[in-house]
């Protein structure tokens, strides 16, 4: 029995705990704190934080693989996060289902009323590719150990779109998935802090005060046909983006068609919530000390911030350019919403606009580039998957 007592002591977390695990549990606690106290994207960062704590408990086996004997019978079961990660994240199912639900919550109306704003959603993706260059330079000069696939996965943080980032990272750089997801959601939460200085630096007060003409009404039929058009264009030009764009448009079509409200409701609620819980726990399972506590994570966090900033800047600059050639005035602030981070970035554009002119309501105008940015980063993701994977 003394032996058993010793075994039990050897089983305790205190006895087994490695320093790295302790640090990662603190990182998990920090994410939980940021989620609850600071309101940093709590829907994802709370489950990710808890997932990080659980996976780093020594001996709890949350990431243990199941063991089968030769006849195929289970000898010892796997851990919860093992099943979640391999069942839903490695396969890509969870990000796609989240994207379907987000599609069912998206209104393309403002974008359809002013399709030119798609250009802003395109320009803001420059943050993604500039960051790729930054990452390959760090890799090429041996400062950090990044491959082209890693660089692409890091760049996608600049897409400011969680499911896209997780989908790309799970395919191109699964080891970096934890750091990339944490960076993506953290910076999305920080959009109200990151974007305004850049937006103000690149615009004059007069530009920020520009009022835009009211959006034309958009018919239900246009809204129904649009997601089908996007799906067909993805099929024609970029099949590697079709999983993301196809599921996004499927969700949107369920909503806009108005004939399957039952399904749309479930996609927007029970289904997306369930998947969000699992996605968070699964992403958290990649926050292990080996994968996270190294110089590369610092690189990812810095490059992610650069990506957001450049994307904001190029969005604003493209809007300034458009304003010069457009017949109706375009407020350059709405270009910043092109990074996506729906709907946070659009709200930031609205707020900064109101500061310059108290009668200037940009929210609806900024929703156009905002959802365009989602399409834009899904396209960028498709190019990366095709270029790096093919």
């Amino acid at each position: 029995m003394e032996e058993k007592l010793l075994n039990l002591y050897h089983d305790t977390g205190i006895y087994q705990l490695e320093f790295g695990q302790a640090v990662m549990m603190c990182v998990g606690l920090l994410l939980v704190y940021l989620a609850i106290k600071k309101g940093f994207e709590p829907l994802l960062l709370l489950p990710i934080g808890i997932g990080a704590i659980l996976v780093n408990i020594p001996g709890a086996g949350f990431m243990a693989a199941p063991v089968y004997d030769a006849a195929g019978h289970m000898v010892s079961p796997g851990g919860l996060q093992y099943y979640i990660y391999h069942g839903g994240i490695e396969t890509g199912l969870f990000p796609l289902l989240i994207f379907m639900g987000v599609g069912a919550m998206t209104d393309f109306g403002p974008m359809l009323a002013n399709p030119k704003t798609l250009l802003l959603g395109a320009a803001a993706q420059f943050g993604i590719f500039a960051t790729v260059i930054g990452a390959v330079l760090l890799g090429a000069y041996g400062i950090m150990d990044f491959t082209l696939a890693d660089a692409a996965a890091i760049g996608i943080i600049g897409g400011a779109d969680g499911p896209t980032a997780i989908f790309v990272a799970s395919r191109l750089a699964p080891d970096l998935l934890g750091a990339i997801a944490v960076a993506a959601y953290s910076y999305m939460a920080l959009v109200p802090l990151i974007q305004p200085p850049i937006m103000k630096a690149l615009t004059s007060n007069e530009e920020r005060a520009i009022k835009m003409v009211q959006l034309r009404p958009v018919s239900k039929t246009e809204k129904i046909i649009f997601p089908i058009v996007v799906t067909l264009l993805a099929a024609a030009f970029l099949p590697s983006a079709a999983p993301l764009l196809g599921m996004f448009c499927f969700g949107n079509l369920m909503k806009e068609s108005g004939v399957v409200d039952r399904l749309s409701d479930t996609a927007q609620n029970a289904l997306i919530n369930t998947v969000t819980i699992f996605l968070g726990l699964g992403v958290g399972s990649k926050l292990s000390s080996e994968a996270f506590l190294n110089i590369e994570t610092l690189g990812i966090l810095s490059l992610g911030l650069v990506a957001f900033s450049i994307g904001t800047a190029t969005g604003v600059l493209m809007a300034k350019m458009l304003n010069k050639v457009s017949e109706h005035p375009i407020n350059p602030l709405i270009g910043a919403a092109g990074v996506s981070a729906v709907p946070m970035a659009a709200r930031v554009a609205n707020k900064v606009g109101l500061e310059a002119n108290k009668q200037n309501f940009l929210l609806m105008h900024a929703m156009g580039p905002n959802v365009a940015g989602v399409i834009g980063s899904a396209v960028a993701a498709g190019v990366m998957l095709s270029y790096v994977g093919g």
Partner: protein, 81 residues
């Protein structure tokens, strides 16, 4: 310039090119679609409404404001008794 950097630059050029290409094609496709739809089915136009936030709950306030007004009035009567 080593291969990794040149591949990165290739990815950037192709990537931004494709993003712009795709979204420009989408602008034309969308505009054409909208024109066509509004010519063929000129009926049911509706003003662009605020997009629901992806993270917002789907529960909408569906109570008729007049019912709220009526109930408020009833509460008011009730209190003043």
């Amino acid at each position: 310039m080593n291969e990794l950097v040149s591949e990165g630059i290739g990815l950037m050029v192709l990537g931004m090119g494709f993003v712009f290409l795709f979204l420009i094609v989408l602008i034309f496709a969308t505009s054409y679609m909208s024109t066509l739809v509004n010519k063929l089915f000129p009926e049911v136009a509706q003003p662009a409404t605020p997009a629901k936030a992806p993270s917002a709950s789907a529960a909408a306030n569906t109570v008729d404001p007049q019912i709220i007004a009526a109930i408020s009035a009833a509460i008011h009567q009730h209190r003043n008794r």
